[in-house]
Subunit: 416 residues, 3 copies
């Protein structure tokens, strides 16, 4: 490994880092677009704080829980608070096989970690208490996510068991999706969503914002998957770009056809979530598939989306942005697809994939449920009904998202 | 060529790929901003599907039509369906002279190809039938665009003839613009645009969306032109950045001054299209010009924009976003500018540029016209007048772009 | 230095260049979100023109004023109009120690330069005359910014004096902030902002736009600070990414806690400006700090924001977007922090930092004040009161930002 190759690798990883960072803007835009106008400031506030809290808590202890450098094959280890740079590695080409520096390692993983918490925020939107959510997100990124992350990427027992998850269909997306499911069960649906007359749609307030969000997530996913090669290896990263792009494209087509067949209309939100479903689906095996396999995986993910959205509504799991369909369902699908298609396909692998996602899912669900329950019986997790009806922007932020009446806004209430 | 340089080159090409991807978000935002509120979901839907369909059809046959690897100097060749990786090239440094891998080659070109179809969508917005448009776009990216692409970039007869088009003023932009012109002629103007009392402006519904779109297109253009160097050659790519940026800047100034002189107002949409005009104009010769020449080319492109917009309105070519002015007019201008300014300037070259753009334009116009005509006499290409008046969002998508009434939205219409 | 490393370095610098370019979209979105609906087209127009004018004027004379290559330790030098490439350097690996090419040098610095002018536009929004502002911005980027830039980065007297400013807490942000302050003083507050009954908030019209702007600025800041390493040195650039990200995160938390303590509400605009404050704060020493120090610097910057916003309102400096708090106050803080934390901390350094920022601030304030004053007494700098009340979009642009009445829009007024 020479300095030039090390430098090129590190450039790639930092390029991927900023792309993953953009996913936070993608989530913020998508979720803002899919909520009602009266809750827009609230969801933006949550998304701005999640990335901030996520980076800080991952620095504080998450990184060293996920990559403790000890206990190979185990369930838990901790490398200490803060960052603990290995002796003499700061400038060493031999850190991570010349793929990147210690700092790059941290910041790339930190951006990743924060996305897991963001997945939850869409599902619980429009009725969760802000402070409860921020505490939940902090602990999720600081402790829960890193533990199952360690199982696989930190060299723990799932790694030893042969479980495969290239960039996190399970470790990031299904884990986030299971946590979201636990949170939604405890939180309950928005008032008026499920009535005696059936399911009442509560449409988002801005399709342009939602579409911008999905495009930015796709954009960022090139870093999410491309960076997971952990070097700039030309064949590796370019194959991942091809499979990622084609799966997303096929996800759009799958959702387009399926939703048209089911609902007889060209449903933009289904197509947007189909793209995301394709992306989540390819994530576990983006480096193992050929282009044709990537298209199949994405297509099936796209088909899953409309069925899943209807399914969750039938069982009264109220998820304003479809996060459970996208991240949980397609995360499971993508994890299993590694045992069905591509370089590792086989019954044995399929079985390993199944218990891997089940184990991570169970851990994420149980810990998220436990923490949310604790918050519910202490500070409470749901806003008062009148706050939900007035909208969280005014009730919790003293702000309007658009064209506020001067009398009702921001800090000037206090300083005048 | 060593591994490190190959890696750095490939990083550059993939970086350029994601920038070109972002152009699709740019087009989506720009077109959404320039249409009426009631057609916003429709244009977003179209743009989300175009990138999906474009990637898939370019994989299916477009790439091997454009780069068949046979018939040098010819008019047509086909390398087979799907991707057909040359023997042993996946990891070989000697593919493309060490500039990038086979996968990178495909994905960069696929992102490029999809932009050509997107150019059309803006011009036909607000009255074209969704399904007709998607069929048109699929065939355009799968067959028509690759054929003229082969003429030049695949080593066909225009390449042999000495025609120069660095990154596609003709191959992408004028081709897309001629196709747009053909489509608009067959489609006719929006109802109420040209009345007995004169031209009635139909303003776009969101200038912030339009401005975001133009900035994102400019952003992406650094990859569109920068990646067209086909390696990370330091002098090559950095010169292209300079000429691209200065031409865009000069385009803004040219359109600013001209539109102020013509209309006595500071017209934002002219300035935005002036930026795009400057970018389209520099694209054919971004690697041949010095900074001063780039400024001149961009300035003239910016001056062209307001005159062209007025001209197309005078001849009743109704183009809601100005795509014909930006891509067709400035694409022609940029192509000719290669014969006037810079390293290849000369009468002989100018003549070659002229018949190159004429040949590609004729092919694009005739094939697009033929296909659109076929669609018109079969499934129809124009929405019913009442759909146009109600807006396509409700008529074709059962959705509103903003703050939808719950009763009229999305899939829940079918599942309640 | 071999070709591969040179190439990787240059890729990094151009990657950083496009990120800094995106900051202009960030500023445009942020400022558009924080102004009233009726002034949206105007602020978008200004931001589109500033990047255009900035690039052109920096090409015309700014670059050669800032990096004249002569008069080391001095106050002023000029290398001639246009670009003047040193003999034989275009392709030479030895230009800038192999960090980048001459063209890269220019375009990276040009993107930087234009940000300084943009800082002013937010502070003077909603009442400044467009033409006066554009003249001001052109001269600021062409002459004033490069002169103080030369003092430090061009090798002038501040560099000799040991003043440290890694990426421009002083040279870009405080300079822009002081210029903004001068402009606001001459311009006066918006009508109705400060009344006999106290401060009247004038809330921005779109929090989603403001949030998108801040995320994009954070995104771009990775290039602003990352590119200021002036090569792709793996340890250097990755450490800067870590400190930049953590300072921004801590800025959000600092502003969150402080504004909650002061105003008892979760104020989104404070958190957004807290992020920006953290970014401005870390900019002077992003390469000198460890992660813990970066967090402290960002946290303090975040705490400064709400106090500063209240302070400027108390002294009737009307700044619609908080640019003086973010760029001026946190720019000063970040500059001083270099003397307090990190590798260069020390009383001597703190003193040097203090007079450095004072010197640059004094120059920026005095020259900006002088130029604005000249404009005030000649063409005037403030729009008529009735224009301010109707909104600048209609009064100066004949346009509406959203859903315009057809009769009142754009160029068709003139051509019908």
């Amino acid at each position: 490994m020479n300095e030039a190759l090390f430098t090129a690798n590190n450039v790639w990883m930092l390029f991927s880092t900023v792309l993953v960072f953009v996913m936070h803007l993608g989530f913020a835009s998508l979720e803002a677009g899919f909520v009602q106008k009266k809750n827009t400031v609230n969801i933006l506030f949550k998304n701005a704080m999640i990335i901030a809290i996520g980076l800080l808590t991952y620095y504080f202890c998450g990184f060293n829980l996920m990559y403790p450098g000890t206990n190979p094959g185990g369930f838990f280890a901790f490398g200490g608070f803060g960052l603990s740079m290995p002796e003499g590695t700061a400038g060493a080409i031999d850190y991570a096989g010349g793929g990147y520096t210690y700092w790059t390692d941290f910041i790339f993983q930190a951006m990743f970690a924060a996305t897991a918490a963001t997945i939850v925020s869409g599902a619980v939107a429009e009725r969760i208490k802000l402070d409860a959510y921020l505490i939940f997100a902090a602990i999720f990124v600081a402790v829960f996510y890193p533990i199952t992350g360690f199982w696989k990427w930190g060299g723990g027992w799932l790694e030893t068991a042969g479980f495969y998850d290239f960039a996190g269909s399970t470790i990031v997306h299904a884990a986030g999706g299971f946590a979201a499911l636990a949170a939604v069960i405890l939180l309950g649906p928005r008032h008026g969503k499920y009535t005696s007359k059936g399911i009442r749609p509560i449409p988002g307030h801005s399709m342009p914002l939602a579409a911008i969000g999905v495009f930015l997530l796709w954009f960022g996913w090139f870093g999410f998957n491309g960076g997971s090669v952990l070097s700039a290896d030309p064949v590796g990263v370019s194959l991942v770009f091809v499979t990622t792009a084609l799966a997303a494209a096929a996800g759009a087509v799958g959702a387009f056809i399926t939703s048209y067949a089911l609902f007889k209309s060209h449903d933009l939100s289904m197509v947007l979530n189909g793209i995301l479903g394709g992306l989540v689906g390819i994530t576990a095996g983006a480096d193992l598939m050929g282009p044709g396999e990537a298209i199949l995986i994405g297509l099936i993910a796209g088909v899953i989306i409309p069925f899943s959205v209807v399914f969750f509504d039938k069982i009264r799991i109220d998820d304003p942005v479809g996060a459970t369909s996208v991240h949980l369902m397609c995360g499971i699908w993508g994890t299993l697809a590694v045992g069905i298609f591509g370089a590792k396909a086989g019954l044995g692998q399929l079985w390993t994939q199944l218990y891997g996602v089940a184990a991570v899912g169970a851990f994420a669900f149980v810990t998220a449920f436990g923490l949310m329950y604790l918050l519910k019986v202490t500070i409470g997790i749901r806003v008062p009904r009148e706050h939900e009806e007035r909208g969280l922007d005014v009730a919790e932020h003293d702000m309007h998202a658009y064209e506020a009446p001067a009398e009702q806004t921001g800090y000037a209430l206090s300083v005048k």
